[in-house]
Symmetry: C2
């Protein structure tokens, strides 16, 4: 234990960090990333990570964050007792997982709790996601992790027999079925408190598209109010504190694009469980450019979701759907909003409309409220559109607006270079074009597709429009269009797709 004087630092890095001079660190026997316990008052002790400096903090001082002034009443120059503390037990459990052992429920709880409360360093988080990636999770570990994630966050409770929900595994541009499914289901009288994400690596998440119509950030109390009024909601999950450990794990998986299956299962199911759902359809689109590459992989994953659902007391059905080309015509927030309104009014892209009706049908069947035909009738009767308008109004917005007027003002069109059949529409190239155009931040930017796979085109037919707001982006887009084929055109009879 040593005594140091408080000095305030101008930084905030997510983790609780204190900075000390290398001489004091040596005295205390601590290294960067070690933990210390700082006694700020008679009864208040706080654990923090150590950063070591030679110059910024002088010997005899401890650099602490400014918020400590308000939170714990620490004054500048106040004497603080600082002692080294051991690593939390969870660090040992991470090592155990690296060594290939199955973790006990209690050990996973400890890890998840420490992640949720910022008690692990980035190096330790990197090791944990790497351990789960290389060693995998057993079914028991997935169940324990999911439960622990649920326990660490907020819960919403509903006094209903069925609370239904829907999740799509990502990767397919334009796959904006959620607002349509939620509207059909809520119109059928079922409760569907749907939370969605914003785009991380895609041109738009459901929340980005919904924000074209209305606010998406609400507290759990506001969600209860909206669902109470309309049976459904279409809000951003990131504004809530459901399964906070999951958000931090996703951040740690991002740099290496690690996406271990066990983590995906726990992540999806913990969010559904926290929001109070008990009846969920999980959509698994598969194919080139989708997250799930093959039918077999989708089926394997589906079985795991169902097993996990059973352990958590939730009914799960999985739909394995075509995901090897974009769904709908628009890719980007406003363009997808246009698709949605077109589907509601019966004009919409046939694939988006059909997929929404099918997923809604599965949910209606699970709750004995009908089937695909019921869903289709609700959509075609206009009841789904009415419900969508209601939900959007309850979220402080308006469904009927001049969406076309909101499109970005500069446009590049792309034409077929030859006559033939569309053999492929590339998910990744379309997504990259839309992102390069400015989606999702530039809500009016994105790509609009005029053709899909197996359709016949003639040389010179327009295949694609790209909307953007900025001239310099047009240059990049033109280059990408030259370099990568968004559309592969060939002959029906050809068996060879590409010669490499």
């Amino acid at each position: 234990m040593i005594k140091l004087k408080a000095t305030f630092m101008d930084f905030e890095l997510g983790l609780p960090i204190v900075m000390m001079n290398s001489e004091d660190a040596r005295d205390l026997g601590v290294f960067p990333g070690d933990r210390v316990c700082v006694r700020t008052g008679k009864k208040t002790e706080k654990t923090a990570f150590v950063e070591i400096t030679k110059h910024i903090v002088k010997e005899g001082y401890l650099g602490i964050r400014k918020e400590a002034k308000e939170k714990y009443g620490v004054q500048k120059g106040q004497e603080l007792s600082v002692r080294a503390v051991l690593k939390p037990a969870s660090v040992e459990y991470i090592k155990k997982k690296l060594d290939g052992y199955e973790l006990k429920a209690i050990e996973l709880e400890e890890i998840i709790r420490d992640i949720a409360t910022n008690r692990l360093t980035d190096i330790e988080l990197g090791s944990f996601v790497s351990a789960v990636y290389t060693r995998g999770f057993t079914d028991r570990e997935v169940i324990a992790t999911t439960r622990a994630m649920v326990n660490e966050g907020e819960h919403i409770k509903w006094n209903k027999k069925f609370v239904v929900d829907k999740h799509s595994i990502g990767g397919v541009p334009g796959n904006r079925v959620t607002p349509i499914v939620v509207s059909i289901i809520a119109a059928a009288g079922l409760t569907i408190p749907k939370t969605s994400s914003r785009a991380i690596t895609s041109p738009a998440g459901t929340s980005d598209t919904m924000e074209v119509f209305c606010n998406v950030s609400f507290s759990t109390d506001e969600i209860k109010r909206i669902v109470g009024e309309t049976n459904g909601c279409l809000v951003w999950g990131g504004a809530l504190d459901l399964a906070p450990a999951d958000d931090k794990l996703i951040r740690a998986e991002y740099p290496l694009s690690l996406d271990p299956e066990g983590q995906v299962l726990a992540s999806v199911m913990s969010k559904k469980k926290s929001v109070g759902s008990n009846c969920v359809v999980i959509d698994l689109p598969f194919g080139d450019g989708a997250k799930v590459k093959s039918f077999d992989a989708a089926k394997r994953l589906a079985m795991k979701f169902k097993k996990l659902g059973e352990a958590l007391g939730m009914k799960i059905e999985c739909t394995i759907t075509k995901g090897d080309q974009p769904i709908g015509n628009g890719v980007g927030p406003v363009l997808e909003a246009i698709d949605i309104m077109d589907v509601f009014s019966g004009r919409g892209p046939q694939d988006l409309s059909e997929k929404s009706v099918e997923l809604a049908g599965v949910l209606l069947k699970m709750t004995n409220k009908g089937d695909e035909e019921t869903a289709r009738k609700i959509l075609e009767s206009g009841a789904a559109l009415d419900k969508f308008r209601q939900i959007v109004r309850a979220q402080g917005g308006a469904a009927d607006k001049d969406l076309v007027g909101m499109l970005s003002k500069k446009k590049i069109s792309y034409y077929a270079k030859k006559t033939g059949t569309i053999l492929k529409v590339d998910n990744l190239v379309v997504a990259n074009l839309a992102k390069m155009a400015g989606a999702p931040k530039d809500i009016g930017a994105g790509a609009y597709l005029y053709f899909k796979r197996w359709q016949q085109v003639k040389k010179g037919d327009k295949l694609l429009d790209i909307y953007t707001s900025q001239d310099y982006k047009m240059e990049y887009i033109k280059k990408l269009l030259l370099e990568k084929d968004a559309f592969v055109i060939g002959s029906d009879k050809d068996m060879t797709v590409e010669v490499v």
Copy 2:
């Protein structure tokens, strides 16, 4: 690409970091830990990691480190172009290793270069050490990593047939053979530019002990001067830029106590190669409380060192030595310095003296300069002490000083609770007592042992003195002495060591 105004931040965290408002980050499409390229002048572009804030940096601004002002002439409010850049290729190679594939030499070079130049985040570093830990390194990977580590740092060249060196794998308290071995070898006319470490988790490193006598921080030019004058040196490796990637990897391994074998091999050998050695004895003490637990493990490791040496054009001999109890009597910088001077004057602890002579003998044999008996004569004749005095003088110090007068002033003695044979002296308990007393920062603190294994003691015999400077530390030490047995006393005939 976006344009932001420069604002200076009061932090420095080892990595190049810039801070931007969450709105700008969203615009640019970057997430925490992503890389951006900042154009600070017509020709100057710098890559940095992004931290995202809602409050600290306002929209339209980029928080950069103060040193950018001097280094790149950036002015407050200056407009900077910021664009997102892709992860370095090394991030893909780390993932490849996590997936269990062997990495090519060129891939390991890229990883080591990016580590040496701070281009990887802590999450990525954590993943890399975890990958090496779980997947292991093939012999080829160890060789490539060692070469890459050498290439990234400074080298010292000597115009000599033999440049000899010595390394001990750690964990055994009091194992301070290095100053004695170096003095014998230098006295025999061989070149031995020895770099050592400071304590990381032990009560003293060789550099901590040498600092009792003289300065240990020198540049490579100064090392050449010292070795030119005396044939040897005893300096701190941390002051040099030999194998900088290794220092950063050791930092990343520390939190989880990961110590993958491949990494240990590359770490030791890269430092030896960088310093210009071509003839090295590697000491592998084994036993309870040592880093290497068994004879078999030591032998396996020895074979790997020899193989790696061959690939690097270095002659390697390994000594597998007893490491299941402390070596010498003193544990702590001054106490170990006393042991060393006692060995030089012929009074010293027999185990420390014998081990030093044996290791020096191996080096003399490797270079055809003699054997163990030659080493013993050099020590007993006083030539080794003369050489030690010369080296210490060349490093700006004095070998003959009142070491006993430098001991910390408070002492706790510990006595045998029964009559019998010492069955065990616990490495870890002794190390913890010395650290708790204040070693290595309090150089006069530590433990002094009066007995070793297999010796007979009577109830009430003094077993141990502990030196410390501070009263409050005495309380902790007394508690530890009650809780843990530094000495196990029993009967020669008993077969049971402990009943658990």
